[in-house]
Amino acid sequence: MNGKYSLIGLLALFGLLMLAGLIRIMTAEQRPYAPRTSAVAAVPHKPAEYPEIFDVDPLEGLDSATAGVAEGLYPHPPPPLSPDTWPCSSCHQAGTFSRDRRDLSMHSEIVLKHGPKERWCLDCHDFQDRDSLRLASGATISFDASYQLCGQCHGTTLRDWRAGIHGKRTGYWNGAKRYMLCVSCHYPHEPHFKALKPLPPPVRPEFYRPEPAKRAAALKAAKFYGPAPGATASKEHH
């Protein structure tokens, strides 16, 4: 007798559990779609959010700058000289300052992280003519040709840059290109490339499913041969 009741009780419990499970499964679809992890990962970011990066025309001025110029001569942007201190000769007249190595009272914004123990301003800047740079040979060059100065130590990089292996170029793969100078990307007093904030990660596949409202709008906008969105309805080809 006892065994019979316990069997009935077990069966009833089993049935109740099954019923609860079924109800749970049947109502699950009506629950709103919940992302598996944080909402951040589900947001599809797009290039239009970063106009400062993507609204720059890399061709701007290139065609006019290279018109009539022999092949092999490519323009580069001017070196990024600080307008606060350029030209240097406005303060540095010949003989005004000592050439001795010392702690400077001016130019405190310049922190040399480019071999600071071995290097001193006048290794690169010319003492007599401050608006020029000075090579190890004693020759002076303009700031536009600073790559020659960099190439004294970084010879392999200069070779790669001339061949187009190092450095960024924009324009035409079979024609005019805009080169970048070393100093366009590497601040000469601290040349290590600055860390950047990355753009947001892509959306994981489990978040591909768009919201129903967005999906309906996309389908409506994609009606290929229908009237343009917002335009008055007119069917010409029927």
């Binding site: 292996i165 793969w173 079979n174 860390a195 950047l196 947001p200 999906r215």
Partner: protein
């Protein structure tokens, strides 16, 4: 139903279909040519009466791009341009610029420069009219541990950080490798994807049936499928398009990187090359010994991903430091 009187053919007027004709002889096709023509003609008339526009009927019967005659190409391009203009309210050009003579493109990527900033992926999205939501990106920038070298199994594209490069990590962007022996084109059952003479593997989006065999065949996960209706806000639309490249795609087709075919066939660099802030991306003609890519191949030790697959990619990775 087909817009025809019951029991008559559009040409001839003889009764067709049930009863009148003898059963087909063994070896003969079950449908005679005459019946087939009648059915297709009826189908066209039926489509027209069902409220389809002339363009929709033409689009339905549009053939593979490689089979179109020059006149048909012109007509198709005009129809597409009109359609896109209507949809995006922008004057659109759909270029059919063919491959240049004596050009095979190659791509170089300096892994010692890449910092994983993902600007390439978003510039590509903008240039190539990829869907914004649901999001599609052709370029995937993978982050991996520096100590493991190139570690595709352990790499992740979903890294998030305040600044990059992160300590002890390296980055490897992967998109279509434009293989010289592509597997994706081999498996396509309808011939909707093929390699162009300049080495770019392209897709005819109107011929693709969306079976995704090519996605399974690609060892580089370079192809993307439009599971949803692609969504590009008209303000962000790039109207300078190519038939085999960045023209807007319909739902249910596969798409992939074409090295900006609309740009490079006009001599320009791809968009990812021009946006890269560290100049890690290099592009040029493999047949020109003076090109940047050839200089890289001559002077640096380049490698390709998954060389054991025998796909022979034209996307070369290298280190300079």
């Amino acid at each position: 139903m087909l817009g025809l009187p019951e029991g008559t053919c559009p040409s001839g007027g003889a009764p067709c279909g049930t009863g009148g004709e003898p059963p087909p002889a063994p070896g003969e096709s079950l449908t005679t040519r005459r019946e087939f023509l009648a059915i297709s003609a009826g189908f066209v008339v039926g489509l027209a009466t069902a409220g389809c526009t002339k363009e929709e009927v033409e689009a339905f019967f549009q053939r593979n791009f490689r089979e179109l005659s020059p006149e048909e190409v012109k007509k198709t391009v005009a129809r597409l341009e009109a359609g896109y203009e209507k949809r995006f309210s922008r004057k659109t050009t759909v270029s059919i610029e063919p491959a240049q003579e004596g050009v095979v493109f190659g791509y170089g990527l300096d892994l010692s420069r890449c910092i994983g900033c993902r600007r390439c992926a978003y510039a590509c999205q903008k240039e190539n009219n990829q869907s914004r939501d649901p999001q599609i990106q052709w370029i995937r920038v993978l982050q991996q541990e520096r100590s493991k070298g190139v570690d595709l199994e352990g790499a992740t594209p979903y890294y998030d950080a305040e600044t990059v490069p992160q300590e002890g990590m390296t980055y490897i962007p992967v998109a279509c490798q434009q293989c010289a022996h592509p597997q994706c084109t081999k498996v396509c059952p309808v011939g909707a994807t093929w390699q162009e003479p300049d080495g770019i593997v392209v897709i005819d989006y109107d011929w693709c049936i969306g079976c995704r065999c090519c996605m399974a065949a690609c060892p580089y996960d370079a192809r993307r499928f439009n599971f949803g209706e692609p969504n590009i806000p008209p303000a962000e639309y790039n109207p300078d398009t190519h038939y085999l490249g960045n023209r807007p795609r319909p739902q249910g087709v596969v798409e992939k990187c074409t090295w900006c075919i609309q740009r490079v066939r006009k001599g320009r660099y791809p968009a990812c090359v021009e946006i890269c802030p560290v100049g890690a991306r290099k592009f040029g003609n493999l047949l020109d010994p003076e090109s940047e890519i050839r200089k890289i191949m001559d002077q640096k030790r380049v490698f390709v991903l998954k060389s054991e697959m025998g796909t022979d990619p034209k996307f070369y990775y290298f280190y300079t430091m």
